[in-house]
Symmetry: C2
Subunit: 342 residues, 2 copies
């Protein structure tokens, strides 16, 4: 491996052409004679020349990077595989389109970090990995008209490119599945109420309860349950109710353990005494005893679609759908299904 960075000038001299010509060959410019093209390519290959990406970026005025902000630590995000799966989906697609992924630790806070990325021309576009009800990041990107795609849903703007599951529909279907197992007293334990998906799932649950003539009981709904401890407590309280729930839906699978603990502590059986259903289909859901019914959200696909969209936007291609839906799957497991034959 030669130590010296080899430059376009070296290639030009070796090939006996101008730097412009080399540049044109490499960028696939059409009005170059086949002969010159071949000659140049030969030298390029021989010398192993690769254009300096930074110089290219400066000249072309585009970074060829897509920015992502790492979510805050300690929130539920990080114990889930959502982030890394989505990141994989993004990274693969984006790289096939000639972009890199630039990760910014969201310091000192997400909006500041985003402003820095934009102001310093570090990225051509941004993928936002989650949406709050009031979302400063969305607001900033939207107002500055900077290209971005949201994995999630914006409640403030309807002209934002986004990729999301149908959280309403998923919760609806999940609730329906449980009602179908002859449960009427279904509790709902939700994560942060500042997340759009939490509230969407709540809506789906409520709508389904209502439209099936079951009773919607306020005391069955608990929000902002975002730690295992809080989940344990919330569940314990639910189990004290005179009208004890016979099923529980958990929005945030990372706190499932608290739920399970509480149920066990109360010596109740799953699913006989109480059915349990969750979202995200984490390893924990799958491997739990009994396995927990869950909604699989297909994080990789969410990432892929978001990446495809931002790439299309940046290349000026038309994007047919502003709000892409990625299909979820309801995985019915023993935690909700009665009377399984052994």
């Amino acid at each position: 491996m030669s130590n010296k960075q080899i430059k376009i000038r070296d290639v030009a001299m070796a090939a006996g052409v101008s730097e412009s010509t080399v540049s044109r060959v490499l960028s696939g410019n059409k009005r170059i004679s086949e002969k010159t093209r071949q000659k140049v390519m030969k030298i390029v290959d021989e010398m192993g020349y690769r254009p300096n990406a930074i110089a290219t970026s400066l000249a072309r005025n585009r970074s060829n990077s897509i920015g992502i902000v790492i979510p805050d630590s300690d929130n539920e995000f990080y114990s889930t595989t959502f982030f890394q799966e989505a990141l994989r989906g993004i990274s693969t697609v984006v790289s096939d389109n000639g972009y890199d992924v630039l990760i910014s630790s969201g310091r000192p806070d997400e909006v500041t970090a985003l402003k820095e990325l934009v102001a310093r021309c570090k990225v051509d576009g941004v993928i936002l990995m989650r949406s709050h009800i009031k979302d400063q990041s969305i607001r900033f990107l939207h107002e500055s008209k900077f290209p971005f795609v949201l994995i999630g849903t914006s409640v403030e703007y309807d002209d934002v490119y986004s990729v999301d599951n149908d959280n309403f529909g998923a919760a609806f279907e999940l609730t329906k599945h449980i009602l179908g197992q002859n449960r009427r007293n279904i509790a709902f334990i939700g994560g942060g109420s500042n997340f759009v998906y939490t509230m969407e799932r709540l809506r789906g649950y409520e709508k389904c309860i209502e439209s099936n003539g079951a009773e919607l009981r306020k005391e069955y709904v608990r929000l902002d349950i975002d730690t295992v401890r809080k989940a344990y407590e919330a569940m314990s309280e639910l189990l004290q109710l005179k009208r004890r729930p016979d099923a529980v839906i958990i929005t945030d699978d990372t706190v499932c353990a608290g739920i399970m603990d509480s149920i066990r502590q109360n010596k109740l059986n799953i699913p006989d005494d109480i059915a349990v259903a969750s979202f995200n289909d984490s390893l924990y859901n799958r491997l739990s005893i009994p396995p927990i019914t869950s909604i699989s959200v297909n994080s990789i696909e969410l990432g892929r679609k978001a990446a495809e969209t931002i790439c299309r936007i940046l290349s000026g291609d038309s994007v047919d759908i502003k709000n892409i839906r990625v299909d979820f799957r309801l995985l019915a497991r023993d935690s909700t299904i009665l009377n399984r034959l052994p």
Copy 2:
């Protein structure tokens, strides 16, 4: 938000100084009069000027990015939180040092991806997230003398900067803990034998068995068990042995479920009939029933240390220790502990 990118020239004009001066003020150059400094900073703040990172990079001949290659899909890596935790540690530290993290999907393969990062001057340094026994990536970076830090251990070179757990020691201690629980027939189920840590853990296990006068039985050791299915099969076979193991150590916690399944299928009790111990302390280990004894590897810290090291290297600071050890913790839980009082 003004649409036009504001440049150093604009600041210079507004402040009535030269571009050089503005540049010097911003880069903290000392030989600038306090007065000019203040004047310039005032304008900078007013205009909200932020230097174009790409132009700076080109002029300074450094990208201010640290490269990371996303591990291949489908391998055990991705179901673990190791990657995302390490990434968080890296990202935080690196950003405090003025660098960004550039993620490369390892396409078409990791070495090619690395070569691209290096050849195109996209990153100043690289953090490698794992180490194989024969590792082309390490070899490439080492031979090209490109700055990098390894999370793991190099078996080929001893002059590589690396950050790792003491995998030998951890396995030794874990094995000792189990021997201390009056088990003599300890099986070992390891992940990919091409990973350094797998083999280090195997060594620690073997050494401990031997030095405690227990019998080292070849049929107790299974390697390359990297899927839940393989784990299930391997465990089932182990349980068929005439001399059935009374304990099992699993190198790769993501396949634990297969082990547990097999044990359950065989109607054996944990820990009475067989003790189970694992590594990585995943959520699954923690929340399993019974909870599984595990080695916590502190992924965030691995990431942090690796980041600190690469930053020191790049800034020319001395790095005292070439091979940094991050402490592990043995978390003894019910899966290995007999006769717990209820």
